[in-house]
């Protein structure tokens, strides 16, 4: 039994005061009054001492009272019957007071202890609720359990679901763990049962191994060292409650992760399905043309007029080019759709990008319908030149395809606040309001575009490219008919221009 030194000193002080007072008034008051002072002293001392100590002390003091004050003084003998009664009553009252005070204190201590444990559970529960990653709170659990056990605790927590084998990489292990401990932890985890003293399973162990339970199974385990001969069931219940809190938090995190993964997978599946639909439709058409022309050349070559042969060959070249662009678009869309796509950003001049797009467009634009107009003094763009070229190629292609054969197509580049707007404008039939957002979806075309082909993924790629640059691609109807596809790209503070022209 341990006595707190400060409390012991206070108790001694109470007794010393009582005895000083008794000696001081000795002779002036009768024995019964002196006895009251002794009762007072013992009662006060019992406030600070454990019950057995204060009871023993009370007995000793009653004996000492008998020796000092009860006649005949200086002996333990008692000559008067009433003195015996007094001493007996004194002893009984002292013992009773000591016992009562002791019990009160034990109850108060226990209440404080329970409050502390409840507080610990609550704090830990809140800490778990506040985090998306319960593993980050594992050190907190370990500290709490180590504090309870007064010894270092070992934790094993699964990073994801329960692995097929006891794979060290699948779990986070906190604290020292030898092979036996690890085996015990995995066993408790897999069987979702506690092991160790008082559990009825492996009572010979020097520790409790507690599973971190969920509604189904467990997602971790803790090894809590314990005195094998005197296991404290209440303490184990509390430790188990802490472990279960962690188990449930792990379960919640696991469920959230699985849900997120399932959602992402479904999304990826959706994009894949759309791409597959686009490929199967858009790619088949030029392929059919190529196959038709090529097989005609192959099978009927001798019988065809030279002019017919030339036309078939030209068709194959054109359609193969179309197919190549489609393939580029489809692949680019898939690439931009993947998470963490890397752009090759560099300082680019809008004039150059438009210029090279124009040059490529001329191959498909023999009548020179496409014209470009750039505002002077445009800032450099921070962008991926290949992606932006692809965006322009698609928009120009689209404009050429969906407008009458002689109508002009305009590329207009201008600065607008902190952005550069690249607009490709046609004089086609325009897009009805209901379709204006849908044209950017994979595999969508204007409703009356039945026999024209090809923009299935084109505009979707363009929008994905604009957005990958932190910009946007919009469709605006034009005043006297036609559409304007406008790519808005945010500008960035340009780097300093080269300094003084160096000498020749």
């Amino acid at each position: 039994m341990k006595i707190n030194p400060r409390r012991g000193a206070l108790a001694l002080l109470a007794w010393a005061s009582a005895w000083t007072a008794m000696l001081a008034v000795d002779g002036h008051v009768d024995l019964a009054n002196l006895a009251m002072l002794l009762v007072l002293g013992s009662t006060v001392a019992a406030l600070w001492l454990p019950a057995p100590v204060s009871m023993a002390a009370a007995a000793v003091q009653v004996l000492a009272f008998n020796w000092v004050f009860v006649p005949p003084r200086g002996t333990f003998s008692i000559d008067l019957r009433q003195h015996a009664l007094l001493l007996g009553a004194l002893l009984a009252v002292n013992l009773l007071v000591a016992a009562l005070m002791g019990r009160l204190r034990v109850q108060a201590d226990r209440a404080r202890h329970h409050a502390r444990l409840a507080d610990q559970l609550r704090t830990f529960g809140e800490a778990l609720r506040d985090t998306g990653d319960p593993l980050a709170r594992a050190p907190m659990l370990r500290e709490a359990l180590s504090d309870l056990a007064q010894a270092p605790v070992t934790l094993l927590l699964l990073r994801a679901g329960v692995p097929a084998t006891d794979d060290a990489d699948a779990a986070l292990c906190l604290g020292e763990a030898d092979a036996d401990t690890l085996a015990g932890l995995w066993l408790a985890l897999r069987q979702s049962t506690a092991l160790g003293p008082g559990t009825g399973r492996h009572d010979e162990l020097g520790a409790w191994i507690l599973p971190m339970r969920t509604r189904q199974g467990s997602l971790g385990a803790a090894c809590v060292p314990v005195d094998r001969d005197r296991p404290d069931d209440a303490l184990r219940a509390h430790a188990q409650a802490l472990c279960d809190q962690m188990g449930q938090a792990l379960q919640r995190a696991l469920a959230a992760r699985q849900e997120r993964e399932a959602r992402e997978q479904a999304q990826a599946q959706g994009v894949r399905n759309a791409l597959l639909a686009a490929i199967s439709h858009d790619h088949r058409t030029p392929l059919a043309t190529i196959l038709g022309a090529a097989s005609s050349l192959h099978d009927q070559g001798e019988r065809l007029a030279p002019e017919q042969r030339r036309r078939l060959a030209a068709t194959i070249v054109d359609e193969a080019g179309q197919l190549a662009r489609l393939t580029d678009n489809t692949l680019q869309l898939a690439r931009l759709d993947a998470p963490g796509v890397q752009l090759q950003l560099d300082w680019e001049s809008a004039e150059e990008i438009v210029g090279s797009a124009l040059r490529r467009a001329r191959l498909r634009d023999p009548q020179r319908r496409v014209r470009a107009r750039l505002e002077p003094g445009l800032p450099l763009l921070r962008c991926d030149a290949l992606l932006l070229s692809q965006l322009l190629d698609n928009l120009i292609d689209n404009a050429l395809k969906y407008s009458p054969a002689e109508a002009p197509v305009e590329i207009l580049v201008r600065q607008q606040g902190a952005a550069v707007v690249i607009a490709v404008r046609d004089r086609g039939p325009g897009v009805p309001p209901a379709q204006r957002e849908r044209v950017f979806e994979v595999f969508q075309r204007g409703s009356d575009a039945g026999q024209r082909r090809g923009a299935g993924v084109g505009l979707a790629v363009c929008r994905a490219i604009a957005r990958a640059h932190g910009g946007e691609l919009r469709l605006r109807p034009r005043g006297h008919g036609g559409s304007s596809f406008e790519c808005v790209l945010p500008t960035v503070e340009p780097p300093p221009a080269p300094g003084e022209e160096p000498g020749p």
């Binding site: 190549a324 090759q344 004039e351 990008i353 210029g355 124009l358 040059r359 932006l388 022209e501």
Partner: protein, 227 residues
């Protein structure tokens, strides 16, 4: 002229070999890196057309070997996925590149340009350029457009001179920056944008649709050299 074509796809190899043979070239073909290495070492070829993705290794290894031993021009043909590699190969000394799919006409045009430049690293470099009314004489430091002298600043002239020396071939941003401004400026792409803009303003009829100083988006520039 003896050409070596290293390409693993059988159909493409045969098609390209036939097309080159029709133009009068003698064509050796290799389907793998090791075969290509052996032929390049033992047969005295004038030019190599090199595919990057080969079954037994990367075309880059052959380029390295050729660069270390002889000045044989190398024309890289690659799939679009190998964008970064393409620039690296150009920087490492490849003469030109074509992205698959490409037309035979394009391939033959690039072949002619590369063959014309063959050995320029050994023999006297190109010092004159005359095309579409633009005349550049590097030694005399003279530039004329349709007979009229054009005044260029020293940096503009150095930039144009660098392109003239590789006329018809793509010169990467990195090469241009290193040769015109210095090796510490290889990341300053914005310098190029500025000076190319100025050059075009002086040399192109319509700078928004250049006919001489062409942009290869994401790679570099090419001074037109038609034959």
């Amino acid at each position: 002229m003896k050409l070596l074509l290293v390409e693993d796809d059988r159909e493409l190899r045969r098609t390209l070999a036939d097309a080159m043979a029709v133009e009068g070239y003698e064509v050796l073909t290799a389907a793998s890196l090791s075969e290509g290495m052996a032929l390049a070492r033992h047969a005295d070829v004038d030019l190599v057309v090199l595919d990057l993705g080969l079954p037994d290794g990367d075309g880059e290894a052959l380029l390295d070997a050729l660069r270390h031993r002889q000045g044989t021009p190398v024309l890289v043909i690659s799939a679009r996925q190998a964008e970064g590699q393409k620039i690296r190969l150009l920087d490492a000394g490849a003469d030109d590149y074509l992205v698959k799919p490409f037309s035979v006409g394009e391939l033959l045009a690039r072949l002619r340009v590369a063959l014309r430049h063959r050995g320029t690293s050994v023999h006297a470099a190109v010092t004159r350029y005359a095309q579409g009314g633009l005349e550049v004489d590097l030694e005399a430091h003279r530039v004329a457009l349709h007979g009229e002298p054009v005044h260029l600043t020293p940096t503009e002239f150095r930039l144009l001179a660098r392109l003239v020396r590789s006329a018809g071939r793509v010169v990467t941003h990195r090469q241009l920056l290193a040769d015109v401004w210095g090796p510490e400026f290889t990341e300053h792409t914005h310098y190029l944008r500025l000076y190319m803009g100025q050059l075009r303003a002086k040399l192109e009829a319509d700078p928004t649709e250049p006919q001489r100083l062409l942009t290869e988006p994401g790679v570099g520039y090419r001074l037109v050299d038609t034959d």
